[in-house]
């Protein structure tokens, strides 16, 4: 049996599994027929709807964990709930998506049991000698092939490494609800408040990202990039040099230690294309580089390039679009 810890979101037609959880279920199915999903019942989601969606991705059962302390997210409370169900179900493998919560919850489970945890796996295969795994290092810039021997195999699945595929004849997963027991101490890491921080286009999901790096030269220099992003319904991103100089807030940073973007087009202005920056930009479907250096990495990686000064090119582009 494989247990997959799943996360939920509110979709257009009801409560559904988050994309990375669907991908984790798809990977699980390639390893074992007996796939069981576990979700936390925070009182917000309708688990019947989630069970239906889990069935579409191959889960036979959905186990819901319920307790007063689970109404809001908390790494310790959610991990304790998952840990309890894992002990009860006794699977050989436990998977979660390599998301903020998935990775955090599974790491807590691993720590509680002193079991190994392999994070951000892209491929898994078992043979007589144990498990052969492929995972990412350096934010996706390097693959690692690794062997794992463990009483119970704990893995997180690298988001977007596996395509989520529905089963051919789906049936809703059987919903099994559990009142779990929790130690009160786990309440100490529950979310106490959730604050809305932005309402604009989110960088991670923007269809167009206009990025600026050292070549932009100043905080004011980003005004033209803002204008261009606005005209294209996109968001502004930046390199670490722009963040470190205080030109942009860190939430705009694209890269290994920033945000991963996946727009239709990434317009990279005055960014050299260092490997750590590219780690966050490589899922862009197309890249247009605006750079004075024809040899820059970003130019080599781009579908299109304008080899010139961004301070002339970007305002001219803005003016031309506005004049249409």
């Amino acid at each position: 049996m494989i247990v997959v810890f799943v996360e939920t979101t509110a979709g257009d037609d009801g409560d559904v599994l988050a994309g990375p959880s669907r991908q984790a279920l798809t990977l699980a199915r390639s390893l074992d027929d007996d796939v069981v999903a576990v979700a936390v019942d925070d009182g917000e989601v309708d688990l019947d709807e989630v069970a239906e969606d889990a069935g579409r991705y191959g889960a036979v059962q959905l186990h819901g964990a319920w307790h007063d302390l689970l109404d809001r997210y908390g790494p310790e409370s959610w991990a304790a709930a998952l840990d309890g169900l894992v002990e009860e179900l006794a699977p050989g493998v436990v998977l979660a998506a390599g998301t903020e919560r998935g990775g955090e919850v599974l790491a807590h489970v691993a720590a509680r049991r002193d079991l190994p945890l392999v994070a951000n796996v892209t491929h898994a295969e078992a043979d007589d000698a144990g498990w052969r795994l492929q995972r990412v290092r350096w934010g996706g810039s390097l693959f690692e092939h690794t062997r794992l021997e463990a009483e119970r195999v704990l893995l997180t699945v690298q988001p977007h490494a596996v395509d989520a595929v529905e089963v051919v004849d789906p049936a809703a997963a059987e919903l099994v609800e559990h009142d779990v027991e929790l130690d009160d101490v786990v309440a100490r890491t529950r979310v106490v408040e959730e604050v809305v921080t932005s309402t604009g286009v989110s960088l991670a999901t923007a269809p167009v990202v206009v990025g600026g790096g050292r070549g932009v030269g100043s905080a004011e220099g980003f005004a033209d990039l803002e204008r261009l992003a606005g005209l294209l319904g996109g968001a502004v991103g930046c390199s670490r040099v722009a963040t470190n100089n205080g030109w942009r807030p860190h939430r705009d940073q694209v890269g290994q230690t920033g945000t991963a973007i996946a727009p239709t087009i990434y317009i990279a202005c005055g960014i050299s294309g260092a490997i750590q920056h590219w780690a966050g930009a490589k899922s862009a479907k197309h890249v247009l580089a605006i750079n004075t250096d024809a040899e820059a990495n970003m130019v080599a990686r781009a579908d299109w390039a304008v080899v010139g000064d961004l301070h002339q090119v970007v305002p001219a582009l803005v003016a031309a679009i506005e004049a249409r």
């Binding site: 790494p75 903020e100 990775g103 955090e104 790491a107 807590h108 691993a110 720590a111 945890l117 392999v118 994070a119 951000n120 052969r132 290092r137 350096w138 996706g140 810039s141 390097l142 693959f143 690692e144 092939h145 690794t146 062997r147 794992l148 890491t189 529950r190 106490v192 408040e193 959730e194 604050v195 809305v196 921080t197 309402t199 991670a204 005209l231 294209l232 319904g233 205080g246 860190h250 939430r251 940073q253 290994q256 230690t257 920033g258 239709t264 087009i265 294309g273 490997i275 197309h286 247009l288 080599a300 299109w304 304008v306 080899v307 010139g308 000064d309 090119v313 582009l317 031309a320 679009i321």
Partner: protein, 255 residues
């Protein structure tokens, strides 16, 4: 208060990550070294908290003797004490690393009292296992939250927040606590001239501890296949605009 920041020495790759001939490690012979930006922020936060509340800041790394360079860099930006937990040079797995950190914290706390806060980078720059800090916190029985970009200490609690896209989750942990922090928590300072001098003379304490190896063993590293792209140069200045616009129209991002 006493604040500990845990860091890891990593190479700084250029446009590509060079591998050794046997493919089991990054060939860092010709590369400079640093720590993850997340950890630079952990170090900076330790210094700021001690500036604001008094006490001592400590930086610790589990790493090869060369990691002294990264410990001294932290001292040059204001950290009071530096501790090296020497390895045999190999990259220890997350369980072994965490066990060594726990043992080292045990020794340091026995000597000088408990740490109110232990800060980790959210994940290391190279291995990216997302777990050492959590393992340490669980072993110490202390609360821990990852992904933190705001820290505010108020008496016996620390109020922290982590962004989730369009919202921010707020947590209030009782001290002593552990945190996994992200770049953006603060803007790390550059070392001062005096800081550099101090760091050159600073004593690096060594704590020799180890833990049992975990179940994970690295077989090989591999560069992902590079997608070859033909770059079409649209021009070298404003005269390229017309062609840029038709690209945007073709992609339907401009209508």
């Amino acid at each position: 208060m006493r604040v500990l920041a845990c860091i890891k020495r990593v190479p700084i790759p250029g446009a590509k990550i060079p591998l050794t001939d046997d493919g089991t490690a990054v060939d860092d012979e010709r590369l400079g070294h640093t720590v993850s930006p997340h950890e630079e922020c952990a170090v900076e936060e330790a210094v700021r908290l001690v500036e604001a509340h008094g006490g001592t800041s400590t930086v610790l790394t589990v790493g090869p003797p060369d990691a002294e360079e990264q410990l001294r860099a932290a001292v040059s930006t204001g950290v009071d004490q530096a501790v090296l937990v020497p390895t045999d040079g190999a990259d220890w797995d997350p369980q072994r690393t965490a066990a060594a950190v726990v043992a080292a914290i045990g020794e340091l706390e026995q000597a000088d009292g408990p740490f109110d806060l232990v800060l980790f980078g959210n994940e290391s720059a190279d291995a990216g296992g997302f777990q050492v800090g959590i393992r340490v916190a669980v072993a110490l029985g202390r609360p821990m939250v990852q992904g933190i970009k705001e820290v505010e200490v108020d008496g016996d609690t620390v109020r922290v927040s982590r962004p989730t896209g369009t919202t921010s989750e707020v947590y209030e942990l009782p001290l002593p606590a552990c945190l996994g922090v992200r770049e953006g928590l603060n803007l790390p300072r550059y070392p001062t001239m005096r800081g550099r001098l101090v760091s050159r003379k600073a004593t690096i304490a060594e704590v020799t501890v180890d833990g049992p190896a975990g179940g994970q063993s690295l077989v090989a590293l591999e560069s992902p296949p590079e997608q070859e792209v033909e770059t079409e140069v649209l021009g070298s200045g404003p005269e390229a605009i017309e062609r840029v616009i038709s690209v945007l129209e073709d992609l339907k991002v401009l209508t």
